[in-house]
Symmetry: C2
Subunit: 353 residues, 2 copies
């Protein structure tokens, strides 16, 4: 659905900077009445709703570091750049409302490539009800860089920090983990095969979920609403961008608590399990350190357990302990291992080495 079949190439210089911005953003519609002014002045203007606070987050994606255009279509990249930022807004238990998008591009990209990138941004904005209120388009001496800032809002009492987890709270995760990292492994492998034999037809059917989680991640926009509906106020929350163990450690350190995480409770998709077997990888390690899943990790008081129990979107994976008890993984064999933050970078180094 996201491929560009068109081979037209218009140099960006044919439009100029202002012309290019106008061209790329003219289809963007303002959806929120609180967006007083979007693109087209020195700054955008937002009117906050009464009794709400504003959340602001920013993330930069760099070609060759965060993405590889040899298997990441530009439309997906635009979509993903938005998701990465919205995920941080939802992790505050807030509603995302606006984004700004800055792009630096080298002249090797024609206008049509920028159209693809912005089509992905627009798709994300429409599906997630986000106003694109500003940005910057500039040339780059080499690669493609996208910087997105996302704004959201929530009642002050609903905003959830990393620092509120309390002893005995339950550790809860949305969705399932590890698929995005495995999707990247599948794509990297296909790239190597393609280098050796450019006529090879990749068969990604059995990895479809993994590849989709890597190329077209979805932020958990539904979760703040679901929690409100269930009348659950999480005590702490974070999004899973770097891998489960790293995020748990962030919550524990910010909240000055410890935790026990149960290996057998970590939610895994069947494709993650089968692909880990095929690739001879340990699925728990992948879930702990894989990253880019953009699920949410949060803690809730034990008395909220009946409200979340059995919910198909939520898995209880552990509980919070006293700080001096440390942070541990309880394995299937019932041994206790200290949790360490390795993150996907470390995993990558190991996979390479």
């Amino acid at each position: 659905m996201f491929e560009n079949k068109d081979n037209a190439t218009t140099p960006i210089s044919a439009l100029g900077e202002f012309g290019l911005i106008d061209h790329l953003t003219k289809h963007f519609k303002i959806q929120h009445t609180t967006t007083v002014k979007g693109i087209g002045d020195d700054a955008a203007v937002i009117a906050a709703e009464k009794n709400t606070q504003l959340v602001v987050t920013t993330d930069m994606l760099v070609e060759g570091v965060h993405f590889d255009l040899s298997y990441m279509p530009l439309k997906h990249l635009g979509y993903k750049a938005v998701m990465v930022n919205l995920s941080d807004v939802y992790a505050m238990n807030a509603t995302a409302k606006q984004i700004t998008v800055s792009v630096a591009i080298s002249n090797r990209f024609p206008v049509e490539a920028m159209e693809e990138l912005y089509a992905g941004i627009q798709t994300a904005a429409e599906l997630y009800k986000i106003d694109v209120i500003g940005g910057d388009t500039t040339s780059s001496t080499s690669g493609l860089i996208i910087s997105v800032t996302a704004l959201g809002e929530a009642e002050a009492k609903k905003i959830t920090y990393r620092s509120g987890a309390k002893e005995n709270d339950l550790l809860v995760v949305t969705g399932d983990l590890g698929a995005a990292y495995l999707g990247l492994q599948v794509l990297e492998r296909e790239k190597e095969v393609f280098k050796v034999n450019p006529n090879a037809q990749p068969d990604l059917e059995k990895y479809s979920y993994l590849v989709e989680r890597q190329l077209k991640p979805e932020a958990r926009r539904d979760i703040p609403g679901l929690l409100a509906e269930l009348e659950v106020q999480p005590t702490a929350m974070i999004d899973i961008s770097d891998g489960l163990s790293s995020e748990i450690i962030h919550i524990c350190k910010s909240s000055m608590v410890g935790c026990n995480l149960y290996e057998d409770k970590i939610p895994l998709d069947p494709q993650v399990i089968s692909t880990c077997e095929e690739f001879n990888m340990d699925s728990t390690t992948i879930a702990l350190s894989g990253g880019e899943d953009y699920e949410l990790l949060f803690t809730v008081a034990t008395e909220d357990f009946p409200k979340i129990k059995g919910n198909p979107h939520l898995s209880v994976i552990g509980h919070i302990t006293k700080e001096n008890e440390g942070m541990h993984l309880i394995t299937r064999a019932n041994t206790k291992i200290e949790l360490i933050a390795r993150g996907w970078n470390a995993l990558e180094d190991e996979a390479d080495g």
Copy 2:
């Protein structure tokens, strides 16, 4: 004042991504009570003052496009990256309160270089009373890229758009124009001299104002306050980043009006006049198309003229006409020339060619 005499080089990998962010931002203090949460969670949290609206703007600076590290010290670059964004907030007649800063850097920069960059950001934040509330530090496959998003606020009725200029309004500019562009020319010339003779000692004394305007521009934080004090509500406002003519045209097109701009009223510093003579350049062309001055251009109703008359910060340079009368420059010789937007890019091409 802004030089790094220290030759220490610590590779960024020695600190890691989180370590680097902590290290660079640990001295940043929160100055505004409305900044509920700064760096350290998934997103920053802001509580808007009552009856205010929020303004948001973003700009990206790219090495080799917007700056040249051979004469731009990193501390100045950090400072300038903040100014460029604050200028847009002030151009809305608003108070700047917060920024986020994202930086992509190649491994050729040691930690000490990043410290210089962040020292410039911190200096700007302290002087302009800005909270640095978030950001992202990532590696880059080549150059240095800085993306800043600035947030500000103002009462809704004070926020000034580009679109409010009315027939007979006066066209007013702050400070003086053209110096930043000439400063760039001086620095480019010195770079060429240095290439031929690395032992040559540059004598920039007579160009001190020009070079400072280029390397350490100041945004007009004072102007929204001054206008409030004078009880002047501008009808339209914009900041001068691309050159006076381009900005006047933005206001006229957004407001659907025309204008007459008087050549002899354009404020020029004596160094601009003398250096234009030395370089055999036309000072009016430089002021019209030079860019990067970060002064403010605004329109006021004629009845406000007594309030601004004789103010040393403000020059009345023309007036607004009906749209069908067009946009014109009235020269010293009293001829009428159509205003065209060329911007410093076009000027650059000409200077190169």
